[in-house]
């Protein structure tokens, strides 16, 4: 008799009684909406390319003009993200460690590139850097042309990616225990040693995360770039613009093929960002 009792006893452990209501409803709606808005439309991109033959797909994604646009898009994004790592780290450092008048105001305004519509950023930067603009009129005599050149693209992408590094590094710097630095200093470490041995290793994962986020955003960016880029094929034509050009020629398959390449790169970036964030959390937990 006692042998048959345990299964009943253990049953609640297998299917725990949930106090909280609404699991099926909320999960059901979440998956339904996600499928309708995101998954079905995104899958259309991949299914569309399956209607192409492999040689057609390959020639669409490796034509000379597309290759030039990849080089420009990824190159400019890389430079812009690197600029943001250096200056973003300095801005985050200054905002966390020092006090100066207007700090709160500046802190709030760092997010401007997230809030300002990209088209507004695009026309404004173009106006500033064109040959009679506030910056352009001084740069032009020095032989530096920014507007309508790849350099302009770097400027626009730097603007767009500015908040990422600041906002990923800032909380990590805030959470650093001052005791560790004090201990190091009292044991005779110089400021430079404290920075390179204690602070830098602690913020490194967040710096890389910020870099990856800024880079990922920059590769897909369209609105702020097209005004300042000049959009000359082979010279200053970014990949997202090339997709639009293909669409305007009703070459849907060609546009979709390039979109697949961009999507695969984005998914790889998303994956590495997730890994980097897991690393950041693991470091913080230590």
């Amino acid at each position: 008799m006692a042998v048959t009792a345990p299964p009943i006893l253990f049953k609640p452990q297998k299917a725990p009684f949930r106090v909280m209501p609404g699991f099926n409803l909320s999960l059901g709606f979440t998956i339904f909406y996600l499928t309708l808005i995101v998954l079905i439309p995104l899958s259309a991109v991949f299914l569309k390319t399956f209607t192409m033959t492999w040689p057609a797909f390959w020639s669409a994604v490796t034509s000379e003009r597309v290759m030039a646009s990849y080089r420009l898009t990824f190159g400019a994004s890389l430079i812009a993200a690197s600029i943001n790592v250096v200056f973003g780290a300095i801005v985050a450092w200054v905002l966390v460690r020092y006090t100066f008048p207007g700090k709160r105001f500046i802190d709030a305004l760092v997010d401007l590139p997230f809030a300002l519509p990209t088209a507004v950023a695009g026309i404004t930067l173009t106006a500033l850097y064109s040959s009679n603009g506030w910056f352009g009129q001084y740069l032009e005599p020095l032989g530096i042309k920014v507007a309508f050149t790849p350099l302009g693209i770097v400027i626009a992408l730097t603007f767009i990616g500015l908040p990422f590094v600041v906002r990923t590094v800032q909380p990590v710097l805030e959470d650093l225990e001052p005791e560790i630095e004090e201990a190091a200093a009292s044991l005779g470490a110089s400021s430079l040693q404290v920075f390179s041995r204690i602070i830098f290793p602690a913020i490194l994962p967040s710096l890389l995360t910020g870099f990856a986020l800024a880079f990922a955003r920059a590769t897909g960016e369209y609105g702020s770039v097209i005004f300042i880029a000049g959009n000359m094929p082979m010279v200053s034509e970014i990949t997202p613009l090339f997709i639009i050009t293909k669409l305007e020629q009703y070459d849907y398959a060609g546009a979709t093929a390039i979109a697949v390449v961009m999507l695969v790169v984005s998914f790889l970036m998303l994956l590495s960002i997730n890994l980097l964030q897991a690393w950041t959390r693991a470091k913080a937990a230590k």
Binding site: P21, T30, P41, A119, P240, I243, I244, Y252
Partner: protein, 293 residues
């Protein structure tokens, strides 16, 4: 929490020499001035470069008015949809344990990592003349692409994760105890949500809505692909700015752009205010908790 903030303000900052501090602050301020403050100021200076009369004429132009209307309508549809989704997603992800949760989280984040241009392209592939539903839509005389529904759909896609993303970590941090107590005491599910959960998450919810709204009103790339650029019909504010700019009507372009810049500033102001409220709440929580123990 309160201890941590205390140690910040009294942090012995500042072992590094004065000139290093001054140098860092100067570099940060120069960088931000060149890349943020000057461009922001330039929007308004350019907008008023031809005087008030031109400014007013530009923003009261019938095409501008219809662009403003379309932008407001689009946001008015897209934001509530993503709000309902955000609350649902946060409820099941934060309040329950189930398999595949982190995968679901990654899927919810997907629209953030997709280029705006591709966000528009996917709807062209679905509803365009050569698209999956193109022929059927034409037969039934339903216009989605190059019409308002397409613009709304593209906007819903690009603003999809905003509310969910703000709510999930907040609700995870708050745990289930309060809701469970309400349920055990006999409250219905809906009442528990309305009376217990909602007051706890209201600031986080508002935060997500504000960010979602800013993106919905400002989206350019995705909307540009699906809109068809029909003046007075399928132009949102950012697209109207582009048209005016490409016609070399710079003062008018910047006038409309200045409205969007004002929206951005308002968004940032509200965001800072809510962050301050959230911090206050958290400080309250930890204060009550430390007196309880």
């Amino acid at each position: 929490m309160s201890r941590a903030t205390l140690s910040h303000s009294t942090r012995p900052a500042l072992k590094e020499p004065r000139w290093v501090r001054a140098l860092f602050i100067a570099v940060a301020l120069i960088f931000l001035t060149l890349f943020l403050f000057v461009p922001l100021a330039a929007v308004f200076v350019q907008a008023f470069s031809k005087g008030w009369a031109t400014y007013l004429a530009a923003i009261t132009d019938p095409d501008a008015i219809s662009a403003i209307k379309l932008t407001l309508i689009t946001a008015a549809i897209a934001v509530p949809l993503n709000l309902v989704f955000g609350v649902c997603a946060a409820w099941c992800i934060a309040k329950f344990e189930f398999r595949g949760k982190s995968f679901l989280l990654t899927l919810i984040d997907l629209p953030f990592s997709v280029s705006p241009v591709i966000s528009g392209l996917i709807y062209v592939l679905l509803f365009g003349a050569q698209g999956w539903f193109g022929a059927w839509l034409q037969e039934h005389d339903i216009r989605i692409l190059f019409a308002v529904p397409g613009i709304v759909l593209a906007t819903v896609f690009v603003t999809f994760p905003f509310v969910a993303r703000e709510l999930i970590p907040l609700m995870q941090a708050q745990g289930n105890e309060e809701e469970e107590a309400a349920i055990v005491l006999g409250a219905s599910g809906w009442n528990t949500f309305r009376r217990v959960t909602l007051p706890n998450i209201k600031w986080g919810l508002l935060y997500g809505v504000i960010l979602c709204n800013a993106r919905a009103m400002g989206e350019f790339g995705a909307v540009s692909v699906v809109s068809g650029h029909i003046r007075g019909e399928t132009n949102t504010m950012p697209l109207h700015v582009e048209i005016l700019y490409n016609e070399y009507n710079f003062a008018a372009a910047f006038a409309v752009a200045s409205l969007l810049a004002l929206l951005a500033l308002l968004t940032l102001a509200l965001k800072s205010f809510i962050e301050w409220r959230l911090q206050l709440n958290r400080a309250d929580d930890s204060a009550t908790r430390s007196t309880e123990h």
